[in-house]
């Protein structure tokens, strides 16, 4: 093979691999992207039952019900709308009422959000960024959240 042919082989091979990769990515993007929604978004956007989403907000005070066999029920709120959430499993270390939470799962037909994952927080002062933005949007952002959010682990010293 001449230099030119070899180079063409190389370029052709690279493009083929790249094309495969792009195809894989597009396919994966179609199936595996999860959108973040606040409780109000869920209502306003009419999120279909069965669609996987991330639901973020505050765990409503007094809403946590501990059932048998690690079944938990609580409500996630952004101050305007509440969505009941059901979860089976061990709650993360820093799951508290009145604090931010992100749950991943899907709505069932009855409007209950079945979470299979509750995202763990790493720090007691940490507010998930998505939750903070959602609260700001719904006008229920309080300044002490801001202070908390501004000082995660170790604190911004400024």
């Amino acid at each position: 093979m001449s230099r030119k042919q070899r180079r063409l082989t190389l370029i052709g091979g690279s493009l083929a691999v790249l094309a495969v990769a792009v195809a894989l990515m597009l396919n994966a993007f179609r199936d595996s992207i999860v959108f973040f929604n606040s409780p109000s978004d869920v209502v306003e956007k009419h999120v279909e039952p069965g669609t996987r989403i991330r639901l973020g907000g505050l765990v409503k005070d007094g809403s946590l019900v501990r059932g048998n066999n690690l079944n938990f029920h609580f409500e996630v709120t952004d101050g305007k709308t509440e969505i009941p959430v059901a979860y089976t499993g061990v709650l993360p270390d820093l799951f508290r009422e009145g604090q931010g939470v992100v749950a991943e799962g899907a709505l069932d037909g009855g409007g209950v959000f079945n979470a299979d994952t509750i995202l763990a927080k790493h720090d007691e002062t940490y507010m998930p960024k998505e939750v903070a933005d959602a609260l700001k949007k719904s006008g229920h952002w309080k300044d002490d959240y801001a202070q908390r959010a501004a000082m995660p682990i170790g604190g911004g010293s400024k």
């Binding site: 973040f36 991330r54 007691e124 911004g156």
Partner: protein, 663 residues
């Protein structure tokens, strides 16, 4: 006094970095040997000052000087000494100090040991290294000064985030940074080569040891982080495709590609332009990793600070260095001459295949990691790209790479014999087929593809053994002769075999634990038991235990085989840190060969029962064992005489006497 000393040393280091970044370049332009010779002593002095600053911060931590804000916020007198030390890099400011310390350390190593480098290349490379150092020193001084004082020193400090109070933290960040920052050397040499406008095969020989060191450290750093997440976060996952993990995986993939393309360049003089690009990209990905992790665009345990000024500053550094480097590349790379010819079926061809798949896999990780950020910036929609995306893209690209890997070392340079290589791999392939069949027969459940994954892993391992067997002619010549041949093999050949074997081991662990791991989550009362895999786990009850700055609620579990044989007991706990009003999960692990039993507990209920997560993790230890073997392979390769001695003297003399055009 000591913090001010550190602060001052940091400023002096910045001044030195500026001198080191400008004078040698002027020297190479004006052909002034005196100006060029400034680079090495400046690099050594800069390291000395940065080391002084780092030591000053360290002293403040060890002596618990709470008049220093950074110490007050992250340390506590109750903490054991080891965690007071690791607190230095358990926060934003300190970790940037560590970053710069390692950067200048590498610069000093080049200055001290690069005695056989061409003068111009060395001067330029050290100058580029100094630009990077200057940028980050400026960043620390402007936005992240660790030496800020508080007017009224408190008596007691806040605590380090409990989740970071772990021996893993002593080891994981420095290793990771050694890897990230180690790639800066390859970057500096690449830029230096572009500035000079010429490059030869010897360039690869000078750069390869540095890439190798960085790659080894990054391998261990990633593995260490993975193991830390596995036992500390309490849900037994070893990899989450979390953006911060991806941030460390991307430089690893690009660095692995660089390691291989540099071999082609060194041996055959080909792929020069590509290798230069990879060197730039690898360090760029390290910088992007630092940006993602440190800027606060991602919220995670690693995002210490959400000060937007910092993010913008690092973004500026990113744009200047990556953009500048790529612009320089576009401008100067055409000057570099193309290298030798080779057939597609050859060792070079195999290494190109490796590069193609590694960089493409890296690109998919890049897209998956940055797409959500880009989408949010453009449309405001918040999405998360989770493990399914990476399973569907990274997996299909990585498995073919693994399957083809054993062929590479068995092929000749220039023109390989695919059929011959296939014949020599026949035994390995049969072993792999056998393993696949055995996996089908013995393991139940799990995805249908899993036994084939085992087959590929075994093929990779057996392929590495075949490589050594072929080189030593073992089983074909008398044992003694084979042994002599084994001793005579270059260390780099052993290094290749070990590293390739290691990746097979890791793959085996990943496939095994993903496919056949089992879990049980339940609330369990004292005296009750749960069965998992071949084990019966009985809960005996809880007791309290006090530590230096925490209290444990410990659950006691007794483990029997299902046939009744007692194996031992395990004590997972809930660890409460009153200073931070925070609790962590301390999982208990029991290794059985390469398998592990894993128990973590939640807060006990009033009736004495506890929520339990119980996992059986088959083959899981192979994941990190494989990384250790890869590290060993890298070390063997590094100790190869060829790299240790560097460029042979006659060649060096020739290079100096007659400046040759590239190739």
């Amino acid at each position: 006094m000591i913090p001010e000393l550190g602060h001052f040393a940091l400023m002096l280091a910045l001044g030195l970095a500026l001198i080191q970044g400008i004078m040698p370049i002027v020297g190479t332009r004006t052909n002034d040997p005196v100006l060029m010779s400034i680079a090495a002593p400046a690099a050594l002095a800069q390291f000395a000052f940065i080391a002084t600053a780092f030591a000053a911060l360290g002293v403040s931590y060890v002596t618990s000087d709470f008049s220093v804000l950074n110490v007050y916020e992250n340390s506590n007198t109750q903490m054991p000494l080891i965690y007071r030390l690791t607190s230095i890099w358990g926060n934003h400011e300190g970790s940037m100090m560590l970053w710069v310390s390692i950067l200048t350390f590498f610069g000093a190593l080049v200055a001290a040991f690069g005695t056989n480098l061409p003068v111009v290349l060395k001067a330029n490379a050290l100058a580029v290294q100094a630009w990077v150092a200057a940028a980050f020193e400026l960043f620390i001084l402007m936005t992240s000064n660790p030496f800020v004082r508080i007017p009224d020193a408190p008596f007691e400090g806040q605590d380090l985030n409990p989740i970071l109070q772990d021996p893993g933290l002593a080891f994981h960040p420095p290793m990771l940074y050694l890897g990230y920052v180690g790639f800066s050397i390859a970057f500096s040499f690449a830029i230096a080569a572009l500035i000079e406008g010429r490059i030869d095969a010897a360039w690869a020989r000078w750069v390869r040891p540095w890439v190798l060191v960085a790659w080894m450290c990054l391998t261990l750093g990633i593995a260490g982080g993975s193991y830390w997440a596995y036992y500390e976060l309490g849900w037994g996952g070893f990899w989450f495709w979390d953006p911060v993990e991806n941030a460390s995986l991307m430089p690893w993939l690009a660095g692995t590609a660089l390691l291989h393309s540099a071999v082609v360049m060194e041996k055959r003089g080909a792929l020069k332009v590509w290798t230069i690009l990879l060197a730039i990209l690898t360090f760029s990905l390290s910088l992007i990793g630092t940006f993602l992790v440190r800027s606060g665009v991602l919220t995670s345990v690693h995002a210490f600070a959400v000060d937007p000024r910092r993010g913008i500053f690092i973004l500026g550094i990113l744009i200047i260095f990556i953009g500048g480097a790529l612009a320089l590349y576009a401008w100067r790379a055409p000057l570099l001459k193309q290298g030798g010819l080779f057939a597609p079926i050859s060792r070079e061809g195999a290494l190109v295949f490796n590069n193609l798949f590694l960089t493409t896999a890296c690109a998919t990780v890049f897209v998956g990691t940055l797409y959500p950020l880009a989408l949010e910036a453009l449309t405001g929609a918040k999405i998360s790209v989770g493990p399914p995306f990476f399973d569907l893209t990274f997996g299909p690209l990585f498995i073919p790479l693994m399957a083809v890997m054993p062929f590479g070392p068995l092929m000749g340079w220039k023109r390989g014999d695919l059929l011959g290589a296939a014949q020599r791999l026949l035994a390995a392939a049969m072993l792999a087929a056998l393993a696949t069949a055995a996996a089908f027969a013995l393991e139940h459940g799990g995805p249908v593809l899993a036994p084939f994954g085992v087959g590929v892993a075994v093929f990779v391992m057996a392929g590495a053994v075949t490589d050594i067997a072929e080189r030593t002619l073992i089983l074909r010549v008398p044992f003694r002769a084979a042994f002599r041949r084994a001793l005579g093999l270059p260390r780099s050949a052993w290094g290749t075999a070990f590293a390739h074997f290691g990746i097979g081991v890791t793959l085996m662990g990943i496939v095994g634990v993903t496919a056949w791991g089992s879990e049980r989550i339940a609330e369990i009362k004292p005296g009750a038991s749960l069965d998992i895999a071949h084990y019966r786990v009985t809960f005996d009850g809880t007791f309290n235990r006090a530590g230096s700055n925490y209290r444990d609620v410990v659950g006691r579990f007794t483990i029997h085989r299902l046939n009744g044989e007692l194996i031992g007991n395990m004590q997972p706990s809930r660890r409460a840190f009153p200073d931070r009003n925070m609790a962590t999960t301390e999982a208990a692990l029991m290794s059985r060969g390469v398998n592990q039993l894993y128990i973590s507990i939640g807060d006990p209920n009033k009736d004495g029962s506890v929520p339990v997560r119980l996992y059986f993790k088959p083959y899981v230890l192979m994941i990190w064992l494989g990384a250790g073997i890869m590290f060993l392979g890298g070390a063997l390769s590094l100790s190869d005489r060829r790299l240790r001695v560097g460029a042979p003297r006659p060649a060096k003399a020739r290079v100096r006497a007659v400046p040759q055009p590239a190739e």
